[in-house]
Amino acid sequence: MACLVNSSAFAFSGISPLHSRSDSVSRRSNFPYRTPTTVSIKNMPSKQDALRFPPLCQHGGTTRQGRRKTLSPIKSMQDHEALPEGLKPELMPKHVAIILDGNRRWAKEKGLSMELGHLSGGRVIKNIAFLCNKWGVKVLSIFAFSTENWTRPKEEVDFLMGLFEEVGQTYMDEVTRYNVKISAIGDKSKLPEPLQELVATAEETTRGNTGLHLLVALNYSGRYDIMQATKSIAGKVKDGIFQVEDINEILFEKELKTGCAKFPNPDLLIRTSGEQRISNFYLWQLAYTEIFFSKKKFPDFNEEDFIEALSSFQKRERRYGGNK
């Protein structure tokens, strides 16, 4: 029974269970972790397969594509495909932010390891990024690692750092192919060296890309962001770039880490797993953001749920404190 469950977890995460127990001596990263049924994202069956996106829904049948197909090059991402029924293109949010909560609880419910929970969550991010790119969302923010997550058990933190490296290396080609721009926001100086280098390379390589802008919050928190903006402004005041009296909200907003994005403030925030709080993710940036709480744990969050979040967003009346 456990085998079946594990196999299905692998199938969902697009990794063949046959490629287990293999080592990765030649890996560039120092990802030391071995799960009991070893997972290796790098051991994808073939490069061709790696370029395909897996079925967006666990049960494979309900996607618009129906079955796997090889995607043609980048041009298709620029012409946004028709949206699912019920969604209006003019009401699509420009910036969607996601708090990916519930990986560990999902794994526990299914009797899987915490690592598989996070891996499954990783696949969902990829699917959502794909959908965002397809449907004309310009910026996608994901709360990958909070400043408060350092207090988690060391094995989990090490696993996550390794996972970020692994994912970064594996999907660099695809990211380039789909014209995605990557920015990592957060206090990168506390991350392991190899990850810092990888992040810097990824940002450099994708700097000129014009597709979806993916903001990955690594060692980030809303309060950290506000503090660093304050310090940056203080420095500029000292250097005489502007005066204290010039400090206003517009200036402050530019100094936040999200200032690197064309649409810095999320229109829609999605938090999964039923918890109803912000958990120190974006604070300033959420001033007028519509929040959608989904009861599903993140690895279960599929295309249908994302469409539900988007339609809920489109139905909302945004008044910004003024008149109707």
Binding site: E148, T151, S221, G222, R223, I226, M227, A229, T230, K231, I233, A234, G235, V237, K238, D239, V244, I247, N248, E249, F252, E253, E275, Q276, R277, I278, S279, N280, L283, W284, L286, A287, Y288, T289, E290, I291, F292, F293, R316, E317, Y320, G321, G322, N323
Partner: protein, 284 residues
Amino acid sequence: MENKIESYGSSLVSHMRRLLFRVLSVGPIPNHIAFILDGNRRYAKKRNLGEGMGHRVGFLTLTSLMKYCYELGVKYVTVYAFSIDNFKRRPEEVQDLMDLMLEKIEGLLKEESIVNQFGVRVYFIGNLRLLNAPVREAAEKVMKATANNNKSILLICVAYTSTDEITHAAQEAIEEKRGEIPESSEASMAQNGEISQEKHEGHRTIKLADIERHIYMGVAPDPDILVRTSGETRLSNFLLWQSSTCLLYSPKALWPEIGLRHLVWAVLNFQRVHPYLEKRRKQV
């Protein structure tokens, strides 16, 4: 006779409510609840009341809810009465709201008001310079008059937005630090002429505590629950800095329709997540 029945009825209701609160108090009670009073205008439209009546009914709801909170043992209650963004509304509506606020603020000073009943200290939080003089003066009068109360605290956010609050706090913190720098840089010049080094050290020393010292809401701890009525699930620039770990609750009821059951539901949800959040808070 009817009066007797009425008073018997209401005293029974209040006894039952106290009993309910005693049961709830077996678990942790939130220390601070914040409310976004949304839906007054829609309520007025729904009930075919006149323009501005929605806000008046909303005020009555506010006093009931405050009473429930203080009875339950919640020490801090914060309400989002008027946002800086609300100045964008039609001038007649803004004027009505200002007049209503003036009337109600002056009402707080009366003997029989809820403020005296529960020993409430009142703070007006926000960029008060944006208010007209009568309202501002009345607000300052109330703050002064209730300064000695300490049983419960009421924070009324007027002419407030969180981004304005944070910007203001940052400005003050930077101004304060700037005042400290010249002495240290002079001293270092005397020693080794490395002024720029000291300058950098100076602005790197702005800490979290500096911001928190200057933030308007610094007089209260962070809220445990943030309730926004009328089913809208957004913060609308309210308590962004402070609500990083608080429970967000957005009942569909419009503000004047909110009642005891919503408060009880919010508290029960708070009690559910409280142990986990406490553990996290201790770790951090």
